[in-house]
């Protein structure tokens, strides 16, 4: 069994969001970087659990990013995984990124490809579906449970107002969200071990980006909260009905 886990570097959830260069670039100065939480807590940890259940499993991590992504990859390797591949490119175009990952995946002949359900920076929810299409694989998005039963994937995915259980033969690509696994903290043995795990750097293939970012905007500042006295909560109902007109 070979699993490929796609990892992305994102600003910390509490990072201040600001832009530079006339609002065309994310202002990264002083920003703390983390592994995208969906990639880490759900995709990677579930892959590690599958390896714990079947130790012959191999886990490879892949990321598309510059050398500044390496601390994040080492952290991911400290949690688990056998080796990592960094595709040396920087892009915000989902198709470009997916094409690079698909190329690595093609060469590695993986049984499972895990992604997080989205990154918390560009919120594209696109990489898993695109990689699956480029490799002509089935794709299950927004999975909340993943099991292997006699070599077949049994996946529960979220649907509007409920859940659906799917059965799929491998190989398959899966986007993972809450429910798949629980967050883990790397231990000292993991951190030490991660230093000697292979981290391969490969150059990107030529792919044309389909989109480009023109600019960023910040949402207009809120006018400020209108406080209603706790002595007269009926006034809140009146305001919501007559002023905000929400019911």
């Amino acid at each position: 069994m070979k699993i490929l886990v796609c990892i992305s570097k994102t600003p910390d959830t509490t990072a201040k969001i600001a832009f530079s260069d006339n609002n065309t670039k994310f202002a990264a100065d002083g920003v703390q970087w983390i592994i995208n939480p969906y990639d880490e807590w759900y995709a990677l940890v579930r892959a590690i659990e599958l390896k714990e259940a079947a130790p012959s499993t191999t886990i490879h991590l892949v990321t598309v990013g510059g050398a500044d992504a390496e601390p994040i990859i080492r952290k991911a390797l400290a949690l688990g995984g056998d080796e990592a591949i960094r595709i040396n490119a920087d892009s915000h175009d989902s198709f470009y990124i997916a094409s690079q990952i698909a190329e690595v995946a093609r060469q590695g002949a993986y049984d499972l490809i895990f992604t997080g359900k989205e990154t918390i920076d560009y919120n594209g929810s696109s990489i898993g579906g695109m990689v699956a299409e480029l490799l002509d694989l089935p794709y299950v998005s927004l999975a909340i449970k993943f099991d292997l039963i006699d070599g077949t994937a049994v996946i529960i995915r979220e649907i509007e107002g409920g859940e659906e259980t799917d059965k799929i033969s491998l190989p398959v690509a899966v986007s993972c969200q809450k429910g798949m696994a629980e967050q883990r903290i790397p231990n000292m043995k993991g951190i030490m071990g991660a230093r000697s795990k292979p981290l391969k750097v490969v150059e990107p293939i030529a792919v044309e980006a389909l989109t480009s970012i023109v600019s960023f905007d910040l949402p207009p500042a809120k006018a400020g909260v209108k406080l209603v006295s706790p002595e007269n909560p009926e006034e809140l109902v009146r305001l919501l009905h007559e002023e905000a007109k929400v019911f």
């Binding site: 600003p11 920076d121 579906g129 299409e133 799929i168 905007d217 909260v225 809140l236």
Partner: protein, 320 residues
């Protein structure tokens, strides 16, 4: 040239988020000087011709049992055929569960530029630029699509449904439907509740409610307003409420017209899931709760004293 809108159905009925996508698609078509068409897959009980009301000139249908369940690969191939046969240059999805599964695949298949989670009409004054949410609702990015075919998935509840007096022409697609690789063995839907992602009003509770036995304060108000119920992460983690109600960074992201938060402090991770709501109301006894900074209306007070009065006032207003 046309704009093609994928309309998602569940148990034969077209979803509200898809009607928003249809209205949006009709407006995009008007901007481009062309017409909007729809595509509806599977066995639909709704009157498809009536979708003309949302501005669709023509609706392509394909009644097929396989298409009652989502296999993103099968759907992508069928929609790709429809894109070709209707010479569509723009394809619109709702950024809902199905849209998230299909739209990126279609983008890769057609090498069509894709913006997921659009929140406004494209700016076609100079190229084709679409505004989308980024950084979990903390900012917007304006994305330029540089390809002949363009794909947009529209965030639910970011475009108002508009109607006209018209009927759509209905045409059956003659595409072959591939064998699905994803076999659905069970579906488990919560019946009788408003799905969170489709709800216009969401009433939500946090740890400030002290225990699941006090949730009547949330559900009573929700019932009166036809609202969905939600909760904060700690509440789902302790097991006071089911996990599918958890909104926030790691739970669902929602954008209702009204988000009414009771006893939730408003940590940044929670805000990431709700900050696209049009109006936010916060009831919290701690005046320092960070949620008040993101709120439009608020009461600094004890939910156990304030909420019964609010529920009573709404009951009177609704004449219930």
């Amino acid at each position: 040239m046309s704009v093609l809108v994928f309309l998602d159905q569940s148990e034969g009925q077209i979803k509200k988020s898809s009607l928003e996508a249809a209205s949006y698609g009709a407006k995009v078509a008007e901007q481009l000087g062309t017409t909007a068409e729809g595509i509806v897959l599977g066995n639909v009980t709704d009157d498809v011709a009536a979708l003309g009301k949302y501005g669709l000139k023509k609706v392509h249908t394909l009644k097929n049992d396989t298409l009652d369940h989502l296999d993103a690969q099968v759907f992508t191939n069928v929609i790709a055929d429809a894109v070709a046969s209707s010479s569509a240059t723009v394809v619109i999805f709702s950024n809902n569960f199905s849209g998230k599964a299909i739209a990126p695949r279609l983008s890769a298949k057609l090498k069509a530029g894709f913006v997921s989670g659009a929140v406004a009409l494209p700016d076609t004054s100079n190229g084709f630029v679409v505004k989308k949410n980024v950084f979990s609702g903390k900012a917007f990015a304006n994305i330029s699509l540089n390809t002949a075919v363009k794909i947009i998935s529209l965030n639910p509840n970011s475009y108002n449904i508009t109607t006209i007096d018209a009927v759509a022409e209905v045409a059956a697609l003659s595409t072959t439907v591939g064998a699905p690789k994803v076999i659905v063995t069970a579906t488990n839907k919560i019946v009788g509740e408003v799905p969170l992602t489709e709800a216009e009003i969401v009433i939500s509770g946090g740890r400030g409610l002290k225990g699941p036995e006090n949730w009547g304060l949330v559900t009573d108000l929700a019932k009166l307003l036809g609202a969905a119920t939600a909760c904060s992460r700690p509440v789902a983690d302790i097991g006071w409420r089911p996990h599918h109600e958890h909104v926030g960074q790691t739970g669902l992201a929602i954008a209702p017209n009204l988000y009414f938060a009771i006893g939730i402090s408003g940590a940044i991770q929670h805000l990431a899931g709700v900050n696209r709501s049009k109006v936010i109301v916060v009831i919290n006894k701690d005046p320092e709760a960070p949620f008040f900074k993101a709120a439009d209306y608020g009461i600094v007070g004890d939910a156990f004293e304030v909420m019964p009065k609010i529920i009573e006032a709404v009951r009177k207003l609704k004449g219930a």
